[in-house]
Subunit: 375 residues, 2 copies
């Protein structure tokens, strides 16, 4: 769901992407993104592509052929990071954990000690395929100790839980607009530390991607230069600007608390229905709840009925989790008590219809208890 003000912003008549009035909007987006990422990084922009383009930009700008990158693999997006590293001639050292678990920082430390010179460590903060919430701060310290860059995928986390780029020592952090920012998909917020920009400027080889070359994109976004690189997606940037205004109006602490509250109510209700979260409680993301579905339930059929009868879309499992989990998003504008209760009610009703449940109301009661006492 997207706020009506964001839809309205999308429909703003267009002006040229180098028009001074539009450059002012770009400047304001940069300032608001710095606040969101908790960073003072000069290079903080919205890349003209989806979150996956953000991932590719983060990798291809720093990894040169032969460079070694330690990558945490515990779901779809860690796996994708390793692929992107290998596509640009890098060597991906995979540190693996079961899907639904985090990558323990001490496994990263062991890999850092074991392996020769390491260009970067890459981790997914919020693994959308499993709901696991990766701790970053401890890894940031390790990366400083080993003089290694830290690259973090915050596609699903940004705007829903704290992302402390400077405090945690993240060098490159990218996100997507369509998760907790509640803006349509199409842009990748991206911030890069001075340390990483310096490394990029000293590459031995030109970045293999011209479109995602951050040294060229820096000149396009920087006040003063504004050197033409490509034509920015004007309407999408209007929308992002409005979404960032809405986030600032709510305030980040209130926004994070809202995600925690509704997630707790959702989990309480789902647990009552026999669906238990896959990640352990202490590593469970609030905006994306991945629950194991008992095998006697035809999970795909229920998802289809949810969409067709109730207009509620939830995700199925990916990769090894296909057919065994549901992924329920409560992100940004969609993270509301109304959505939690409507969804729980719909699932209860479908379970009752299929004879899997006889006494209704337990899930709603469990959720309501959370709302009464808070988290």
């Amino acid at each position: 769901m997207v706020h009506p003000r964001v839809l309205q912003a999308l429909a703003t008549p267009l002006i040229g992407h180098l028009d001074p009035a539009f450059l002012a909007i770009m400047n304001d987006i940069q300032a608001r993104l710095r606040h969101l990422f908790s960073t003072s990084n000069r290079f903080t922009i919205a890349l003209s592509g989806t979150g996956s383009a953000g991932m590719e930009a983060a990798i291809v700008n720093v990894v040169e052929p032969g460079d070694v990158v330690i990558v945490g693999v515990n779901g779809v997006f860690g796996t994708r990071l390793a692929t992107v590293i290998e596509r640009c001639g890098g060597k991906a050292v995979r540190v693996e954990a079961p899907w639904g678990q985090i990558i323990p920082p001490d496994m990263i430390e062991a890999a850092l000690r074991r392996t020769g010179p390491i260009k970067a460590v890459a981790l997914v903060h919020a693994e959308t395929s499993t709901g696991a919430w990766q701790p970053i701060e401890a890894v940031g310290r390790l990366c400083r100790d080993h003089d290694t860059l830290l690259i973090v995928d915050a596609v699903t986390s940004l705007g829903g839980v704290p992302v402390e780029v400077d405090q945690w020592g993240i060098d490159i952090c990218y996100s997507g607009t369509q998760k907790c920012l509640s803006c349509p998909p199409g842009l990748a917020p991206l911030t890069v530390s001075a340390r990483a920009m310096d490394m990029i400027s000293r590459r031995r080889t030109p970045c293999q991607s011209w479109y995602l070359d951050l040294s060229l994109i820096a000149d396009y976004w920087a006040e003063g230069t504004r050197a033409y690189h490509h034509t920015a997606p004007v309407s999408m940037l209007y929308a992002l600007h409005e979404a960032l205004c809405l986030i600032e109006e709510e305030g980040l602490p209130a926004r994070f608390a809202r995600h925690r509250l509704h997630s707790a109510a959702l989990v309480a209700g789902l647990t009552e229905l026999g669906l238990t979260p896959l990640p352990p409680d202490e590593h469970r993301l609030p905006m994306l709840t991945c629950v194991t579905v008992p095998s006697h339930i035809d999970e795909a059929a229920v998802r289809q009925q949810l969409l067709q009868t109730f207009g509620i879309e939830i995700g199925g499992g990916l990769g090894p989790l296909k057919g065994t989990v549901w992924r329920v998003g409560l992100m940004g504008e969609s993270c509301t008590e109304a959505n939690v209760l409507t969804f729980l009610n719909a699932v209860e009703e479908l379970f009752i219809r299929s004879g899997r449940l006889s006494a209704p109301g337990h899930a709603l009661q469990a959720a309501t208890r959370v709302y009464s006492r808070g988290v």
Copy 2:
């Protein structure tokens, strides 16, 4: 300018990018793009990036390290093509012509005969930096004769002049949404022949870009598979769909005639003001008129006044043409008699104010003569 119906489409509430209702829109976009490109290519999609991402996708999917590509260089975008070819390890054989001129097909032929095995020939159909209109059909025949792929940049031409992908033998053709399609920037329409898709499937090395890997993107757009790759920019695709509907309602022949008419009127008026088109008449694009500005005119000051006083944005010169030309776009929804006359009037007024012109009205009269007699 974008039609109000396109702005309205942008503001449509979002649905999931894998929702069956959205997949139907993707199918319809594919069908309408095939019509626009005059092709039956199965792989005809809108790439999730701007026109420059389309260029990069066209190159990195077929060019492997060591491959030789002949590239026409007569402006900014031919130069950029050569850069992108070199960034993926290809060898760019530049066939050069002065800015404002076309690349003569016999120069391409000579290069094809002179050089060893050639992977592809890459040409810019409408060179936005100079207004030159490159003939493609003759080069298409040469490419078939030499068993070489033909890659064509149709960013500025598509929807404004004929782009006959199948008839001309183009293998990869990409465009942008913000030129003659009158849709906001952010997507790159792209079509790929079966011959090129076959070559892509037989690559020796994986495509260096995961985000732009057309074999993966094909599985995402193809009916039947719809394998998740990235999250499509839903709102932008709504907008493109509506823009394509508007184009079909007008009809391509009428749309092309409209661009010819207003361009002729614009050139007649500008000539009267002492501004002459850079490309020779037979190779002058209708949607982008590049005129030489006499040295006694402070061209940047006039452009700034046009924007500030009249809200009219025109382009300055790029590269070697910086400070010596204006580039006036008449594209899609902006290609109207009202815009032509308003612009000519504004320039006349500014010239009179600066003492460069004493008798007003000549430019408008010249334009009006074109409108009276037609082209």
